[in-house]
């Protein structure tokens, strides 16, 4: 006997505990199975691209903080790189190193939240995310030391950084670097080989390599699908060509690979941090830049490997003090393109963890 069933529509979000902000998935379910899924967003749209057109180049830096608010330093860096490329402004050696240190610390902090909330979505009730928030606090303490802020740093400037690091920063960073590997081991001991986690995430939400390339995925999601593509290596910006590090990649492109890639990237970031700290030179932290920057007419695309993927800023200048066009290539928005392909056929519980494994930040998706 075949029981006649009919699909029903469930709106998951915008107010749902696991949508990482105000994301809405309009899902069509057949029992527990997802038949169709349509992402709906825009609940956090603040028109940052338009706002930036009415501000000076320096005045746009706080706006970039509010894009991916879990990785403000990376946003600052990408924007400053784009302006420097546009206006041809040099950056002092010391500032480059400070930027790398901040960007890598930020990567660890962002991945901690990503992995923690992914495991939380899997149903590991709060424990992993609280462990990871504990370590993120220490990174935030470091950031607070340099710029007085814990979330929206507004630290980098065109042509350097806003101020030099204080004396107590390096010892604190050293202590953090010594302790962090042990903590990463702790996370792995907790859940890496857990049977339920393996059953829940292995083979779930596979993003095949071809699809990943075709849908312009980037960041850990891209690398988990087996593409060895990291802009720090592929197109080294700042001084990344001076550091030794590996690019961790996954083999299948499932949720588990994405989780492992993030954990391994944290270890690589620690390597970079160690090298950067040892090589940190003395000197200026900011080149001589006028208050009102007037770049020559033209356009520039500055991109970095942000924690969530390729973050790019496309700036067009008309030789005024404000950008003529300010476009953000938001990695998480574009990573969502393949979301439907990854979800259809899986169950409601998988939908949550597939979505969690992509690691989005609504501030960046909606802008």
């Amino acid at each position: 006997m075949v029981i006649k069933t009919e699909p029903f529509v469930v709106n998951i979000g915008p107010a749902h505990p696991s949508t990482h902000g105000v994301f809405r998935m309009r899902t069509t379910l057949d029992g527990e199975v997802i038949v169709d899924m349509e992402p709906v967003f825009g609940y956090l749209h603040r028109g940052i691209e338009k706002l930036a057109e009415e501000r000076t180049y320096t005045g746009c830096i706080p706006l970039t903080d509010r894009l991916d608010y879990l990785a403000s330093m990376s946003n600052n860096l990408a924007y400053c790189l784009a302006v420097e490329k546009l206006a041809g402004i040099p950056v002092p050696e010391r500032a480059e190193y400070i930027r790398v240190i901040m960007a890598e610390l930020q990567r660890i902090a962002s991945h901690l939240i990503a992995v923690g909330s992914f495991l939380n979505d899997c149903g590991a009730f709060m424990t992993p995310i609280l462990y990871m928030i504990r370590e993120r606090e220490k990174i935030l303490d470091l950031f607070e030391m340099v710029c007085g802020q814990r979330l929206t740093y507004n630290y980098m400037r065109v042509g350097g950084v806003s101020q030099d690091i204080p004396d107590e920063f390096l010892p604190a960073l050293d202590k953090f670097l010594k302790e962090m590997p042990g903590w990463i081991d702790e996370y792995d001991r907790l859940l890496k080989e857990n049977e339920i986690l393996l059953a829940r995430s292995k083979g779930v939400g596979i993003l095949p390599r071809e699809l990943a390339v075709n849908t312009s995925a980037s960041g850990p999601v891209f690398r988990a699908s087996g593409v060895k593509w990291d802009i720090r290596r592929a197109d080294p910006y700042s001084i990344y060509d001076r550091f030794e590090f590996d690019i961790p990649t996954g083999s299948v492109g499932d949720c588990y690979d994405r989780y492992r890639v993030r954990i391994e990237e944290m270890q690589q970031s620690l390597r970079i941090l160690k090298q950067a700290m040892e090589q940190l030179p003395k000197g200026e932290v900011r080149s001589d830049v006028p208050h009102l920057i007037r770049p020559p007419v033209g356009e520039a695309y500055g991109h970095i490997e942000a924690p969530k993927g390729e973050l790019g800023f496309y700036l067009v200048s008309d030789n005024s003090i404000a950008p003529y066009r300010f476009h953000v290539r938001a990695p998480t928005l574009i990573n969502l393109t393949a979301l439907r392909d990854m979800m259809v056929g899986w169950k409601v519980a998988d939908l949550i963890i597939i979505f969690g494994s992509i690691d989005i930040c609504m501030g960046e998706v909606d802008r």
Binding site: C122, G123, A124, F125, M126, V344, V348
Partner: protein, 362 residues
Amino acid sequence: MTMAALPPDWPGGFWLHWGVFVVVIFVFVMATIMGFIWFERRAMAIMQARLGPNRAGPFGVLQPVADGIKVMLKEDIVPAKGDKVVHWLAPVVAFVPALMIFAVVPFQGGAILADLNIGILYIVAISSVTTVGVFMAGWASNNKYSLLGAMRQVASVVSYEIPVVLSIVGVVLLAGSLSMQQIVMAQDIPFILLQPLGFLLFFIGALAEINRAPFDLMEADSEIVAGFHTEYSGMKFALFYLVEYGEALAISAIVTTLFLGGWRGPLLLPWLWFLIKVILVFFVIVWIRTTVPRIRIDQLMALAWKFLFPLALINLIITAVEILVWPAGSLWVLVPINIAVMIVLVLLWSRFFKLGWGKVEV
């Protein structure tokens, strides 16, 4: 240690016995639930590197009281398109059976409301009624999340009832009685040693039946918001909350009675032993909750039907054979044999079966 049992009609007279015990059980259950709520929150907080409730009263022990007062003062919201009568009735239907279980739980020798000769059967029957309340709640809320949660609950209880009952039968065979009192009296060796596999199956199945992690699918907060009680607030929500902890307490008490030797133990007072064992079992439940991720619905079903059910059957057969062929009095010899059997069977079976079916073509 004397096994001095209280007379069956303690403290004298049928009605006095009932009156005293109903009050005692109600107070005990309520107080222990309050304690458990505090205990779980504190224990979880310590495991998660945070403090937990620590403001209301010493060490925050009054936090559940404060929460209770708050929740009672909250507005009671009924969904406009919900079924109001069923919505109102559901928490009651869920709560009463959770309380009724304690009628046959022996707190110490003779300290039992009703020493039914079918005690354990009564528990199995009563504890399933809660599901009806949960399903009523999910249906009456007219909310898709609630309905999903309620359906999951029904599915899981229907599947897990079977391995749970089968693993209880092993205990009943050993004790030779269905009475909770008699089962405790029969445990010169705690049945956890004689029935290690049965204990494991019962504990896993019981976790699924009371919907504690990793089987807390019906109220999976990261998936379906709060499951069946999404649309509940105020006192009705508090009742569901009490059901959750009441069932956890009941399962702890049943595990204690069936497998850990009930109130029996050296030196300390019997009821104190009972309480210690109950808290210990509850601690394990909390510990599991803080550690492992949640299982998926198809994996939940697969675990019940492919793993727990066949193993429970095998366990039952082995136990029956052992009782038939083994001379009474030398049960200690069975302990290492049964532990070895458990390890072999679990390892063997985990190779056979696969958790869930994965992706479905649509």
